[in-house]
């Protein structure tokens, strides 16, 4: 049970760290750039 809780906390902390690191290095801009244009592949054209 202790190991499981450590794993839970580790994944939570790791997830938060990755999310903040990704935003810090500008990955949010990649997501935004992709999302504000109609994705032709997604709708079955491209």
């Amino acid at each position: 049970m202790t190991k499981l809780r450590i794993l839970q906390k580790g994944v939570l902390f790791g997830g938060l760290t990755c999310l903040l690191a990704g935003l810090w290095r500008g990955e949010g801009a990649i997501v935004l750039t992709k999302a504000v244009r109609i994705c032709l592949e997604c709708i079955g054209i491209g």
Partner: protein
């Protein structure tokens, strides 16, 4: 006035969430999509960002976009988002926050000659979604790139039914320019989507069970989820919870199986009221009967 059932409350929540995250209604009329800065944020469920109403981004689309970009190959932002959401909510996302899951549930209500809860190939087919995750979402966007190193969203392109339903159909209905560009790819996607619609009338959430890579991610993390079920000592092993489970997830063996979408059907059905919802770190009551309580990673 009687309080609405758990199921009715969940359906209402699903509808409100779907409407709230796709509230750019003017996009449906104009045949355009929302282009504000909110789209840098992901919604937790499968919700195409090319849906005219979508206010946020699809995490799968964003994951493939980052993997396929030439600036970043390691998608820290989206990986972190999925790890956080998966560890906090697990497949609660599937049961409450996924518009396409809601669509499948509505279709299942349509009368059909035969409804299947499970069949012999069902357990093996559940692993197909992990294969789709690895190949179409992770490997192909990363490996198959064009001359400038840009990859494509292969899952979105070839398989995603949410893109067809939420993006393709409304945009093509209202945008003549896009309509003129329709070809074989759209024919494939519409055909695939039609098959899924039909299957959804016979099997509860077939896309979520067998094909959804986002469901695969959350299923993988679900045993660690802070939002989980606990089974008290009042359980008498009657198995009614497993009988009523629409996902055939077998909560009698494990109150938090990977296939559980937290719909609450087992909670409502338990005559002993032995199953409860809890938000917090795991306790021995959260684990399967076969898991030692000091404890191994719980299996479905």
């Amino acid at each position: 006035m009687a309080r609405p059932s758990r199921s009715a409350r969940r359906h209402l929540f699903q509808a409100l969430w779907a409407l709230g995250t796709n509230a750019f209604l003017v996009g449906f009329a104009r045949g355009t999509i929302y282009s504000g800065r909110l789209k840098a944020l992901c919604v937790p469920g499968l919700n195409c960002y090319s849906c005219p109403g979508a206010l946020g981004s699809c995490p799968l689309g964003a994951l493939q976009a980052t993997l396929g970009s030439y600036e970043f190959q390691l998608p820290l932002y989206i990986s972190g988002f999925l790890m956080l959401v998966g560890t906090v909510l697990g497949r609660f996302v599937c049961g409450f926050l996924c518009p396409f899951g809601m669509v499948q549930e509505l279709l299942y209500r349509i009368p059909f000659p035969k409804k299947w809860r499970s069949f012999p190939a069902d357990p093996l087919l559940r692993y197909l979604k992990y294969f789709i995750l690895v190949v179409f979402v992770l490997v192909l966007p990363f490996c198959l790139t064009d001359l400038i190193g840009q990859g494509y969203p292969w899952f979105c392109k070839l398989l995603c039914p949410a893109g067809t339903l939420e993006g393709g159909i409304p945009l093509l209905l209202s945008n003549e320019t896009l309509r003129s560009a329709v070809g074989l790819l759209f024919a494939w996607k519409i055909g695939f989507f039609a098959v899924l619609l039909l299957l959804s009338m016979a099997i509860f959430r077939p896309f979520c069970r067998y094909l959804c890579p986002l469901g695969a991610i959350y299923a993988f993390l679900s045993p660690l989820a802070l939002l989980h079920y606990e089974r008290s000592d009042g359980c008498n092993g009657c198995g009614i919870c497993s009988t009523v489970c629409p996902m055939a997830a077998n909560p009698k063996h494990n109150p938090n199986p990977r296939e559980c979408i937290r719909c609450g059907a087992c909670l409502s059905a338990c005559p002993q009221q032995a199953l409860t919802v809890r938000f917090g770190f795991l306790t021995p009551s959260s684990l399967s009967d076969d898991a030692p309580h000091n404890s191994k990673f719980p299996e479905n």
